[in-house]
Symmetry: C2
Subunit: 608 residues, 2 copies
Amino acid sequence: MIQKKLEVTYQPFNKSTRVPPGTTLFSAAHWIGLPIDSTCGGRGTCGKCKVQLVDGGGEITTADRKQLRAGELESGWRLSCQAKVYQDMTVNVPELLRVPKAATMGVNRLVLLDPNVRKVYLELTEPTLEDQRSDVERLQDALTAEGFDMKADLAALRTLPGALRDAEFRVTAVLGGDQLIALEAGDTRDQSYGVAFDLGTTTVVGTLMNLRTGMAEAVGSTLNGQAPFGADVISRISHGMQGEEARTELREAVLNTINGILADLYERAGVDRDRVYEMVIVGNATMLHLLLGIDATPISMMPFAPTFREPLYLRAREVGLEIHPAGFVQTLPIIGAYVGADIVAGVIATGLAREEKIRVFVDVGTNGEIVLGSTKRVLCTAAPAGPAFEGSQIKCGMRATDGAIEGVTLTDRVELQVIGGDVPPRGLCGSGLVDVVAQLLVAGLLDASGKLKSREEVPEHPLSDRLTSVEGVRAFLLTENVYLSQRDVRELQFAKGSIATGIKVLMDVMGISTADVDEVLLGGSFGSYLNPESAKIIGLVPAVDVDRILSVGNTAGEGAKMALLSFRERQVAFELPEKIEYVELSGRSDFNDSFVSVLRFPDLEAVA
Amino acid sequence: MIQKKLEVTYQPFNKSTRVPPGTTLFSAAHWIGLPIDSTCGGRGTCGKCKVQLVDGGGEITTADRKQLRAGELESGWRLSCQAKVYQDMTVNVPELLRVPKAATMGVNRLVLLDPNVRKVYLELTEPTLEDQRSDVERLQDALTAEGFDMKADLAALRTLPGALRDAEFRVTAVLGGDQLIALEAGDTRDQSYGVAFDLGTTTVVGTLMNLRTGMAEAVGSTLNGQAPFGADVISRISHGMQGEEARTELREAVLNTINGILADLYERAGVDRDRVYEMVIVGNATMLHLLLGIDATPISMMPFAPTFREPLYLRAREVGLEIHPAGFVQTLPIIGAYVGADIVAGVIATGLAREEKIRVFVDVGTNGEIVLGSTKRVLCTAAPAGPAFEGSQIKCGMRATDGAIEGVTLTDRVELQVIGGDVPPRGLCGSGLVDVVAQLLVAGLLDASGKLKSREEVPEHPLSDRLTSVEGVRAFLLTENVYLSQRDVRELQFAKGSIATGIKVLMDVMGISTADVDEVLLGGSFGSYLNPESAKIIGLVPAVDVDRILSVGNTAGEGAKMALLSFRERQVAFELPEKIEYVELSGRSDFNDSFVSVLRFPDLEAVA
């Protein structure tokens, strides 16, 4: 997977970048913040992205012939979106004709507003005896003149004669890529929307985006309606194993969830469903398989081979999602059975594969997905952490809902942060669990092996009276009825040990140590709530300066929004599976060796 | 539309051809009977069609990079199916590795058996921890190794995990182009079928073809179920104008007709519907629009612009045609509202656009479609002949069914040829009408202006007692109750005048005279039954030697079969609309001028 990089230099800017063979001049420029002008977004149809070859390259593509004059071809002009780099090259970029709209999204990513969905207003010439082109050709020719390709499927063909004549040949064509989604009467360019969905096993979040302004119009979220069939992916898949009917049940449950959110978004934003043309949806491999009605059984069993990994672009009516029926649902690619499209979205949102600094991105959950790398090389894996971080298998564990202790500070007393504010604490959620263990380590009430001290060992400690035993097992009382047991500490040790081992294996494969890591990014619905310092104290993440451990929020949702707003970002996401090396832990002997060594908590000096 | 031709020479054969710019080296070779070896049929995926450039050309395509080694590229090897001719070129063709199967079809056309539907048997390696490729990739990689691209739609994805595992990863992949149609357990390559349909306004004919042998397994035909809604395209369209429901009625009527024929073909040939993967269907523009549920109203009204003209490749389940549900329905392109896919099929079947000799192809019917040309240039038009040739508007006219007089010879008595053999004659069908008029001209009972003689003008003629008058109009008695009236002669004059004028206009546009015409081809369900000599005597066709006037049968059906059996022929059909110049008669003043001059019948000496 590692290929020799090639150098491309852009004049007159004198900016260079190193890219894998086969990258287009257009993409390479975009990666170093040098957006080349383009109406068609790199599809080879508008001709605006032409550059002049100074050194290297020279092939003429069919698109070049269509868009450029013979004289231009001779002088070395080529479409940068079609010209692929197969040797070191230098090119001249003409002055920018327009400065595209941009927005900052994800983790400080500058995203150019260039959605895959485009609306083009056309005043077509009507047919005459001298001009008997078909409706399709009339529309295609007008769109070609504006720099767009267009294909119409059977459903679109059926609407064409009526739509054109009812609107007296003044129509707005809505394109998803080069596919015709709709022909609307008159000029409707001011109404163009899309939705971005993060389809989590537990929670589903949807955002209605205005594709014209790049702004969110409304956000909605709810629990995944598949919850009654099991809390995690394995139990969902098990349910699906009962047969076709059970899979339909799972599929309909999640469709209802998403369509419910959609209806709510439309109502709140006052947007018509028929003006919503595209959905970008990300989720883990299982969630995407079940949404599409594809048996996910092989994902749950060795050797974990999913049915598909490639990004899919499907008509909404075919999937059953209630945007414009002829609109499209775009999934992002999957890297492996346990590194899904949500992680690909996370890599886009963090820009991890596009910056010089070396970063670790961890999505902490039942499976800890880990990505390590920089623009040079990117590795990823999934570490089976078990349910501790979700508050499960923990004596007083609970989900992060009202009454859950999500933060703990131990001084001479116990300070608790409880979700829901004034409600009485009912249990510990994942971030609270990590906090209390970290604080007990700092307070000297827990040793590095993970053993809770007894009241007798630390009689002078102001919190010693909270050390007790419950059902014959040592415990630390947080409130009258919420406590942390010795067994809970062991569960957490296994969970954090698994993720820490995953990180260590990736660092070993890359040949780097903690000192080489510039940043640690905590993402996902749980990771974002983790206290970075606590994560460091328990040794969940490498011991870098605590201000280099960042909570990056819902990177899956952010990545989905970026792919919705920017065709270029989407292309980058599509290319990621080729760039990211997946390291399977199950097969590695060093995983088990490392695992034992990282079960202990780090020395406090080491993480100070 | 007329482009400068470029010369391509193939070594070591020293064979040359002149082709329009943009033609591939592969296609150009095929046209001169030099089939270059290929597994993928010119899709750029098998790498077998490589040739070495001797002179001209040189561009390297993406497919070249994928299929050829760097050393080969340097020595000038290119995939001939990707290399387009933009200048005069000379290339070396390596020795043929295999001689493809071929069959003679249409009008002496040699067709290489190279169907678009391919079956590939695969024994896939099963997934392991070291090989976690998705099912899609596993299949794609195996097919790539065999020289095939593959894409799977959502319906295919849903069947994939089960199909692979139930068959223990030994499957036959069925491809329509690069789309996955089915995955069948085990090796099923010996069962591969397709159907070719000629969807006529009156009659629908279907042929079940064995794609492995190229042989027809069964043929079936029946009247078009749309008949109750009108005999001709205009009355069908009028019915459809009543709205969506009426169009659904029309659509379902023809679907029932075709599906009925299909069920009958399957039963007679003992072939399972799920082994029938593709249908090629041709028909006039109206028939194709109505079949697909597309409003055909604009076809019936000035300026006659259809909704689509391009060839469509649609899933059978989407169209409602009962072959394999994931199989494909391929329509051939339409040239204009009144020169449909049936005529494109006719051009393929006759090879009219691919031979040196200049030929006129006429499909005689309510609309006479005319194609004139050779490999150098091709013109076409549609002449509104009216219903006379269908036996309509003729006093004793009838369809060509039992009891219709289809042939007439006049000596000193009247000899009749009646459809159905021993049944009593009930009326005149089109070919009988043409015959009797021609024979009356020869017998001297009808003058060149079209006037029937009276009994008094030719008292000595052995047939003079058959000259009579019916309801005050002159008539010629064929039997006691079947006669030809003076008005019928006028109707025929208008009908033949329209077609003769169409031919004359095309000859004028091309700048040729009758002496330059090498052959006249009479096609279509009616034209094929015409007596060539009679057609010549009445001046329907140019006055060439009668042995150069050929009945060529159901060229529409033959062309459909050729496109079904040969991907290359299909490509040729796809390119025809670009090559054939359509001449619209409605807008031309010379049409009306010529029309008057050709209403008369030719002098008998001129056609002798």
